[in-house]
């Protein structure tokens, strides 16, 4: 069963400098109870993807083509009211910066109670539910934590509170937007373990967005590699990490500091820059930075299935 299926999704923003094609022909699936990682550099369209799924694109952004099917409903065609019903209940989100993501002037208990406003439970039942959830994310003294305000918690605790809020309504899909980027390394491991444990318990699917390849490799079942608003490669974590088929994926893996063996004065980078998305090149979007460029790259590259479930958007992948 597929929880989330994105097909041919195109998102554009109208800006003063013209139409900005932020997502181009994005397709991938999040199967039930699986953790799918999305990797890519800053500005590759990860945030736009989240906003498109949540129906929270900025006013100047629009879905031009494609569908986002969640539990049988196409989210791109849903009315605002139905979409609002799904958010926080069936699709939930944990954001990057926990301090900024929590309301500073409302107590944690109040915010958790508000998230349950649709449940029809009494106030006491809601508070009991919040407390149980805080205990589940291992907040010490959960009962008094309800009366506290976000700034009274440490960064790691804030992120656990945010996770508790996101999973309180037992959603089918959790979107985790770089949930560990703002945390230090030891907290990162603890948070990842907590997410894994809760995912097992709630039996939800997770769309895990990160630029940290190590975390993706550790946590995710499937990986989606994004570059300049396109999915350049997707497959199981094993397929993508052990047999990358897109030159961009290969370069990205080479640049991962964790993979450097031996001492080096300079960390490797990919030369060149991400193209201006207002003027997309007609052919392959990575062609200008690619060291394996051929003439066929001037035409729109096909999505090539190199193995079952392993797809790369590159003409060279077909030749292999």
């Amino acid at each position: 069963m597929t929880v989330l299926a994105i097909k041919g999704l195109n998102v554009t923003f109208s800006t003063e400098g013209g139409q900005l094609h932020a997502l181009k022909n994005v397709s991938f699936e999040v199967p039930e109870r699986r953790i799918v990682g999305v990797v890519g550099e800053s500005g590759c369209g990860k945030s736009t993807l989240i906003n498109a799924i949540l129906g929270l694109l900025a006013d100047n952004g629009s879905v031009d083509a494609g569908s986002i099917t969640f539990e049988g409903e196409d989210l791109t065609r849903l009315g605002a009211a139905r979409m609002q019903e799904l958010r926080g209940q069936r699709i939930s989100t944990v954001f990057q910066d926990p301090m900024g993501a929590l309301n500073p002037v409302l107590s944690v208990g109040r915010q958790m109670r508000n998230i349950q406003y649709r449940s029809g439970r009494s106030r006491n039942e809601k508070d009991a539910r919040s407390e149980a959830m805080l205990r589940q994310v291992r907040i010490p003294d959960a009962q008094s934590a309800l009366a506290q305000y976000p700034h009274e918690f440490s960064g790691g605790m804030q992120q656990r509170v945010a996770i508790a809020m996101a999973l309180m309504m037992r959603p089918a899909l959790l979107i985790a937007d770089e949930p560990t980027t703002a945390l230090d390394a030891t907290l990162e491991v603890a948070t990842i373990e907590l997410l894994q444990e809760l995912q097992q318990d709630i039996a939800c699917s997770v769309l895990f967005i990160s630029h940290h390849l190590g975390v993706i490799a550790e946590l995710c079942d499937d990986v989606v590699v994004m570059y300049a608003g396109e999915v350049v490669e997707r497959g199981t974590t094993r397929q993508v990490f052990h047999a990358p088929c897109h030159p961009y994926t290969r370069r990205l893996l080479e640049c991962d500091p964790a993979r450097q063996s031996g001492r080096t004065r300079h960390l490797p980078t990919i030369p060149g820059e991400v193209p201006d998305l207002r003027h997309r090149p007609p052919g392959c979007v990575f062609a200008t930075r690619c060291d394996q460029r051929v003439d066929a790259c001037d035409k729109t590259p096909p999505d090539v299935a190199v193995a079952a479930g392993h797809v790369a958007r590159c003409v060279l992948a077909a030749a292999r």
Binding site: L54, L56, L86, S92, A101, P104, V105, S107, N114
Partner: protein, 314 residues
């Protein structure tokens, strides 16, 4: 919170002391002999000398200041030259009227300004937003005495909906409230504009913040997001602004009290200046200063009560 309150109260005392020093300098520097002014042109030099000694004017300046300063802290602000009653008593009789006027002005500005500003922010860029913007600037630009005169002419004289003068029957709260409507509008109308602009600006800023995005991602109703999640934060700077604005309202109150012939500290000061009743002027100004400092303190404490971050920093 307690430590903060004590600290702020200490600061308030220092501010009042400095205000007293300035006030004393002001009176001391006014040209002319207070004794001569008080006794009039037909008094003899001996009478003037007698009064000078009685008023302590023969002593060195710093002794005069110390006498004024220590007496004032004990609630003795001197005696009214005309009626020979204690100044403190005279001012305290008038204070409730001015307080009612100020709170009436704040009520107008808050009950109209906050919803208007909030509405303009939610509807930003629309015709409604522009209209609120233009109206806000217009009411800020009109001086309060002009508002007072036009309000009087339109609602009291032409339409006869509301009483024109006085503060209403003593003891009759309803009548006093009816008499308060127009003067407090004159004091508060400009502030409707200020607060609407202020709330709009801070609402727009808060609505852009990450936690509002989170609230939307949790599917909370837009009304809850606007009023519970955003407005609670957006009104904080407005409360601070109002605390400072009370100073300006106190000066508007002088005009409102004169135009509407209401009793009050402003009217008292006005009359005292016309009759050169200096002890009364000093006393009334001092009481007004203390009132301003205290209301500012109240505004800071309200911010502390509304914002847990401020509360815990104290």
């Amino acid at each position: 919170m307690l430590r903060y309150s004590v600290k702020r109260l200490g600061l308030a005392l220092v501010i009042v002391s400095v205000a007293m020093l300035l006030l004393f300098c002001m009176i001391y520097l006014i040209p002319g002999d207070p004794a001569a002014v008080a006794l009039g042109p037909r008094a003899t030099e001996a009478m003037r000398e007698g009064l000078r000694i009685k008023m302590g004017l023969d002593k060195p300046v710093w002794v005069q200041f110390w006498n004024f300063f220590s007496a004032a802290w004990q609630g003795d602000l001197g005696r009214d030259v005309l009626s020979d009653r204690p100044v403190a008593t005279v001012v305290m009789e008038q204070l409730p009227y001015t307080l009612a006027l100020i709170f009436g002005g704040i009520s107008w500005s808050v009950t109209l300004g906050i919803p208007l500003g909030c509405w303009a922010a939610v509807e930003r860029g629309t015709v409604a937003d522009r209209i609120v913007g233009v109206l806000s600037v217009a009411v800020i630009a009109v001086p309060s005495f002009v508002v007072a005169i036009y309000a009087l002419l339109i609602f009291a004289v032409a339409l006869r909906w509301l009483p024109a003068i006085g503060a209403g029957e003593p003891g009759d709260i309803g009548d006093q409230l009816v008499h308060l409507i127009l003067p407090s509008l004159a004091v508060g109308l400009g502030w409707v504009g200020y607060i609407a602009r202020m709330v709009r600006a801070s609402m727009l800023e808060v609505l852009e913040s990450q936690h509002i995005r989170t609230a939307r991602a949790f599917g909370l109703p837009e009304r809850m997001i606007t009023y519970r999640y955003a407005l609670t934060i957006a009104i904080l700077p407005t409360v601070t602004l109002l605390g400072v604005g009370i100073g300006q309202m106190l000066s508007s109150a002088v005009f409102a009290e004169i135009v509407f012939a209401r009793p009050g500290v402003g009217k008292l000061v006005y009359d005292a200046i016309l009759t050169r009743n200096y002890p009364l002027v000093t006393g009334a100004v001092l009481v007004t200063t203390i009132l301003f400092v205290l209301l500012n303190l109240v505004a800071d404490l309200i911010v502390g009560a509304l914002d847990p971050r401020v509360r815990s920093r104290l």
